[in-house]
């Protein structure tokens, strides 16, 4: 990768132009005087060639699933099929204004209705809202629906239980919805401690939020017992769908007793993580929560699709228009391409790949929990730390060896955690190259730790001082002298 660190502003030269605006096809209207600025804005003045070269050079530093293996645990960085992109760019979807009358948007409404139905079937839920713009907003919507449900029952519950192994978004969404967050300690293997849970379950608890498989990559063996314990106390059970890639077509949150779960379309259903567009975090619920879904809901009567706004118990609207529609098209294309058997194969291969990586690395790294694991495995660099090499150092060294780093220091309950999620879309050859690199680093830890402490040295930006960046953030660009 070539180093290039210019900003477009630094290429600016007075009077250069890249583009002439087309002649206006409507009469010019003067702006109100109060909106007219006195000084010209400090925009870069560059030629078209300057722009092309600048962004082409920057694009050569892009790092993503289209260029490299990206085993970022809990993020499901799988291949995003280009067929999805073609489909989302079809003019009937891409150029449709969200406010055109419903009779002129039947295709888009049908897609939303069918996608909601497919997701409901995949998760064993009764109804799905496609509106949330990301997983965290899906969680927020889910918790708001749970709150509205309890209120409709005349109950004032004040607390939500969250395990200490949870994604940070769980307590955040819960607190934002006005609940007190109560952390439940997990067993060392990441499983819910049933005695701890029983101790916390009372009539003040609105919900228990958990991730299945859990953040250590293990399936919760007593999950049905857990959801039954919660329901016995009137507690709703929320499944964080971050790890749904492990259970597609194998089991369903709804069948396990969950009342609510969200989907990360940008993880499980191959819509891009950033760069290619925004996220999408649809949320699914059981029948008793359906009246509280965000408005509008797409309905179907005979062959006509419509937006239903008359839902008096709804938690309201969450997102501009109908959610991130382009992502819904991509996810729909993916589900229809894969079919039911294909989706089950996704999870089977994701699990196989994660176990292959764990097996190859278990001699040189500590394993957080003895396997087999589900779709991701969590290693601990505690053995390496004794020799002065931390999980961060290992992550940095991997960049030099041509791989993106695993998630580090998550879950919080594992010391020096390295969380590896290979996904189903990687070939064995790639997994082997990655494992070879990890084994090489373990060897270097013993022989040449300095090499690891200096890493990365081959990237455009070398080792950053993370501490200084966090303590003294420099957030404003100023012109270089």
């Amino acid at each position: 990768m070539s180093g290039y660190d210019r900003l477009i502003f630094e290429l600016s030269s007075p009077g250069r132009e890249a583009y002439s605006l087309a002649e206006s096809d409507v009469p010019a209207a003067p702006l109100p005087a109060s909106y007219v600025r006195k000084d010209a804005p400090a925009l870069p003045e560059v030629s078209e060639f300057d722009v092309v070269r600048h962004y082409s050079r920057l694009s050569r530093m892009n790092y993503g699933v289209d260029t490299h293996f990206y085993p970022l645990g809990s993020c499901t960085m799988k291949y995003n099929p280009k067929l999805n992109e073609d489909t989302a760019r079809l003019a009937g979807f891409a150029r449709l204004h969200p406010l055109v009358p419903e009779p002129l948007a039947q295709g888009a409404l049908q897609l939303m209705h069918e996608l909601a139905g497919d997701l409901a079937e995949i998760a064993g839920m009764d109804a799905v809202s496609l509106q949330p713009a990301a997983g965290a907003q899906g969680e927020f919507a889910g918790v708001l629906m749970i709150r509205a449900y309890h209120r409709s029952q005349g109950e004032k519950r004040t607390k939500v239980l969250v395990p200490d192994s949870a994604h940070g978004t769980n307590p955040a969404s819960t607190a934002l919805a006005g609940y007190e967050v109560v952390e439940v300690k997990s067993q060392p293997n990441g499983e819910v401690d049933l005695d701890e849970l029983a101790r916390h379950l009372d009539t003040d608890v609105a919900a228990f939020m958990i991730t299945v498989p859990n953040t250590l990559g293990m399936f919760e063996p007593r999950i049905v017992e857990i959801t039954e314990m919660c329901h016995a106390k009137g507690v709703q059970v929320y499944m964080d769908g971050a790890n749904l890639n492990a259970i597609l077509g194998i089991t369903r949150p709804g069948d396990l007793g969950f009342d609510v779960c969200h989907f990360n379309l940008h993880k499980t259903f191959t819509t891009p993580h950033g760069g290619g567009g925004p996220g999408a975090g649809p949320v699914g619920v059981k029948t008793h929560l359906e009246p509280f879904l965000p408005v509008p809901v797409v309905t179907k009567q005979e062959d006509r699709y419509a937006l239903d706004w008359k839902r008096p118990k709804s938690i309201g609207k969450l997102q501009a228009f109908w959610g991130n529609f382009g992502m819904l098209v991509r996810a729909y294309a993916y589900i229809r391409t894969m079919g039911a058997d294909g989706l089950r194969a996704v999870s089977e291969n994701a699990i196989l790949n994660a176990n292959y990586v764990m097996k190859r690395l278990e001699k040189v790294y500590d394993i957080a929990v003895p396997g087999p694991c589900m779709h991701e495995c969590v290693l601990s660099a505690r053995r390496q730390k004794k020799l002065g090499v931390t999980a961060t150092d290992i992550a940095k060294r991997l960049l030099d060896l041509g791989f993106y780093a695993p998630s580090t220091y998550f879950p919080l309950i594992v010391e020096e955690a390295l969380m590896i999620e290979p996904t189903e879309t990687e070939a064995k050859e790639t997994l082997d190259q990655f494992c070879d690199a990890m084994i090489q680093i373990a060897r270097e830890t013993e022989s040449s730790a300095a090499l690891i402490h200096d890493a990365p040295v081959t990237t455009p930006v070398k080792r950053l001082d993370q501490t200084k960046a966090a303590r003294q953030p420099d957030l404003r660009w100023t012109r270089r002298p």
């Binding site: 993370q466 966090a470 303590r471």
Partner: protein, 130 residues
């Protein structure tokens, strides 16, 4: 084994508490700062705030994680270490000294006896610390 001064009391969340006349001075332990790594941000309550034993009174953020700070005893915050927001590294450099966080005027004297002694805290650390 990290330093565990014998004249202090401790919580299972890795705060230390020191009797300072009738007041209680609070910070995080050497073990805690070592586990957190470089501390980059500390959020503390204002003087006059009420804190409750075993409940969060502030937040400490390191390059690795964000963690709640738990009050060892209940009472009113009578002093806050105003240097920490600008010099969070003090928590790493001198956790039991200049890295102190708040001083509490306790409202329930009995809570003091429920805190861990240095020997109990050392044993807790020896068992894994969580």
């Amino acid at each position: 084994m990290p330093n565990v001064p014998t004249d202090l009391k401790y919580t299972r969340e890795h705060e230390w508490a020191k009797q300072d006349g009738a007041r209680v001075r609070v910070g995080i332990t050497a073990y805690a700062q070592e586990q957190l790594g470089d501390v980059v941000f500390v959020e503390l309550p204002k003087v006059g705030a009420r804190v409750t034993a075993k409940k969060p009174f502030g937040v400490v953020e390191s390059v690795k994680a964000v963690s709640d700070l738990f009050a060892p005893v209940s009472g009113e915050v009578v002093e806050v270490n105003a240097d920490l927001p600008n010099k969070p590294e003090t928590v790493n450099q001198d956790p039991y000294g200049r890295g102190w966080m708040i001083v509490i005027a306790p409202s329930n004297v009995g809570e003091w006896d429920t805190l861990l002694t240095a020997a109990q805290y050392e044993e807790f650390l020896a068992q894994g610390g969580h």
